[in-house]
């Protein structure tokens, strides 16, 4: 009898615990987050929690403010997402309880963020007032404030508890080393001048070694070797558009996704309807592929065998797929009006594409190009699978 009562109490206790921990989750089941993701609904300030394996929506999380041009990063345990809103809002979302865990408005106007390699610090880059703020990932308390006097872009995490970011107005790149931060310790800043005119975005390679800055104000890009003791700007594709007619840019390209095939990577050109192939060791050009329009994203399938490209307004209804070996366009299709963002499943068998003006996320097989399904979403833009938690620069 006694053991029966104990068992009953244990069951009750378990039930209560479960209810507290998973108020909207399944009955008593742990929530695995490894195949989940979040879709930004830019016009309504909400996120859709999606299940990649089920190709289904699990929940909608609301109240995140202005989500135009929003990105997010994940905590190492893939439970929390840190959402960087256009309005300066930094929101910590718990995807297990499907609720906002914390939210601060940390600036007037922000552009992106990153999480440190140890998962303890979250950094946000801001346009207004220009600079980077670094927060405790647990509490969202401010840890460091780094004014730069410029619109600040291309913020990434680098190994060794560092953040790297660049200045649109001054053409500098700064490395903020947070490895020594104890109570009251200050970030150690390394300033690199002469990166070029109007850096608009940057990427860091998956091994954390190379930081490449795209330049709007000149014909070329620059890179830093973060393994060097004193990194110096190195030319990437200087004069890549020389002698060609420049075209207006109706949407700034993004550099976040990048392709590596052997020792090459691929980047969207600015003012030209091309993607550019670059030798990753010495940064000389190895080829270029003519594309349908001004590329916005040129993103490699995780194995690097294909590069998927979308385009700026008004040609943003089209996607092209480029074969990495031949550098030829092997597939072109129109998912619908305003195909803004592509996200691969971690091993690359599927790609999810947000089609903003169709209010859908479309899902395709990357080998057969067959459409596998679709999900309703209100003005969807960014799609972020939780596997990003374990990748440098994402």
């Amino acid at each position: 009898m006694k053991s029966h009562i104990l068992g009953l109490l244990a069951t009750l206790a378990l039930g209560v615990t479960t209810a507290l921990t998973f108020p909207s989750g399944a009955r008593g089941e742990a929530t695995a987050t490894g195949d989940l993701g979040l879709v930004v609904e830019r016009a309504s300030g909400s996120l859709l929690l999606v299940d990649q394996s089920e190709r289904a929506v699990l929940a909608r999380i609301e109240g995140l403010g202005d989500l135009s041009h929003t990105s997010l990063v994940y905590s190492p345990d893939q439970r929390f997402a840190y959402v960087f809103g256009r309005d300066g809002g930094l929101t910590k979302v718990d995807i297990v309880t499907r609720r906002i865990a914390k939210r601060v408005v940390q600036a007037g106007n922000s552009i992106g963020g990153a999480i440190s390699d140890d998962g303890k610090l979250v950094a946000v880059s801001n346009y207004e007032p220009g600079g980077v703020k670094i927060f405790d990932a647990d509490t969202l308390d401010l840890v460091a404030d780094i004014p730069t006097g410029s619109k600040t872009i291309g913020l990434v995490d680098a190994p060794g508890r560092r953040f790297v970011f660049s200045m649109w107005d001054t053409g500098e790149t700064w490395i903020a080393d947070m490895s020594g931060t104890g109570s009251g310790a200050k970030p150690v800043i390394t300033r690199i001048t002469g990166m070029g005119s109007n850096p608009y975005d940057a990427l860091i390679t998956g091994n954390g070694r190379t930081y490449v800055v795209g330049l709007f104000g000149e014909d070329g890009m620059r890179a830093l070797d973060l393994w060097a003791d004193a990194p110096e700007p190195t030319d990437v594709l200087p004069g890549y558009g020389r002698g060609q007619e420049e075209m207006p840019v109706y949407k700034m390209p993004h550099l976040e996704g990048w392709a590596l095939a052997g020792d090459e990577f691929v980047l969207p050109a600015v003012r030209h309807h091309q993607v550019l192939w670059v030798d990753a060791r010495d940064f000389h050009e190895t080829g270029r592929t003519a594309t349908h329009g001004q590329p916005v994203f040129a993103i490699a399938r995780p194995d690097g065998r294909q590069v998927w490209v979308n385009f700026a307004h008004p040609l943003n209804d089209t996607i092209q797929v480029v074969d990495t070996l031949s550098k030829q366009v092997i597939h072109e299709f129109k998912p619908g009006p305003a195909a803004l963002h592509m996200e691969f499943t971690p091993r690359g068998h599927e790609v999810w594409i947000s089609v903003r003006d169709a209010n859908k996320v479309m899902i395709y097989d990357t080998h057969t190009f067959e459409k596998l399904g679709e999900i309703d979403a209100a003005s969807p833009s960014g799609i972020f699978f939780t596997a990003r938690a374990h990748k440098t620069g994402l």
């Binding site: 135009s68 309005d87 007037g108 106007n109 552009i111 346009y127 700034m252 003005s379």
Partner: protein, 102 residues
Amino acid sequence: MRSFVVLLLLANPATGGEIPAGRAAELEHLVLHDCGSCHGMTKKGGLGSPLTRGAIAHYDPETLSGVILDGVPGTAMPPWRLLLSENDAMWIARYLLKGDAP
């Protein structure tokens, strides 16, 4: 109906900015999302300057329309002349000057 609209526009050349009703919804969408990718969906600015009424009230619609059509050389503001007519640009200029009320 189309010919009527055209006649109406011809009859009113000094003001400009008249467009068919369906076009207005398209332009509003363009301002929100495509201009919004640099200027912010709430028009409070981003890479581009703020376009709230307070920020642009000192410009006349002709100036704004000219900026939209020809861009601002040396900045990221592109010329939209390839995609927008002069009437489109004038409509957008007036729409922005009117502020957030639809």
